[in-house]
Symmetry: C2
Subunit: 121 residues, 2 copies
């Protein structure tokens, strides 16, 4: 993968926030410095960065979000403000139980807890 200015800025944007941004939000950000980038470029580079394991892709319903944090972790999704919060759930137990009980080779555990964050009490 050869260097590209666009990809470097996209990477920096993803690494600059904890908000698990969407491609569209990143597009809005990169246009501030490079007004001529196209949305296709954003999608293409996010895909490349995710394929290389530099960033992580997380699916939030029908839209893809991106995360600089590639360590295994789970998420809380607030259905009031839409925010996604990182959480750590001990899922090795789940994984092991399922592999044994269902004879299934688990490669990834995706846990999202949906509810209301503490801003809306």
């Amino acid at each position: 993968m050869r260097y590209s200015h666009q990809r470097e800025i996209i990477r920096e944007i993803v690494f600059s926030t904890n908000s698990h941004p969407t491609a569209d939000w990143i597009y809005g950000e990169i246009k501030k410095s490079l007004p001529n980038v196209s949305l296709g470029t954003v999608y293409r580079n996010l895909k490349q960065l995710a394929d290389e394991g530099i960033i992580r892709n997380i699916q939030d319903g029908p839209v893809a979000r991106y995360d600089w944090n590639i360590e295994p972790h789970d998420h809380l999704k607030c259905n009031v403000c839409g925010e996604m919060i990182d959480i750590q759930v001990p899922n090795e137990i789940i994984k092991d139980t399922v592999m044994e009980k269902y004879d299934f080779e688990v490669s990834d555990v995706e846990i999202t807890l949906v509810g209301k964050c503490n801003k809306h009490t």
Copy 2:
């Protein structure tokens, strides 16, 4: 919600399979008996049935799937054959831990384990 023949058949189709069918698959099935149904009718009725709690909506990446089993349960997704298998994971522990640790009012826990099912050993 008043009775409709289309909705009744859609409900029966969802209840007839364990495959967590998509709207499009259901559309193909209902056309066998009612060739003139429109895809919009399928979507509208699936939404109504899910809103009424008669069936359950599960998000599989960018596509919606439907499940006659409304009891709280989780899924295994095989990334070889695409099949979704019902599993029971004791998630009350997770829920309670997260509610306390993160001060988050959890209404739903979504767990999907991705991997390879025992048909591809």
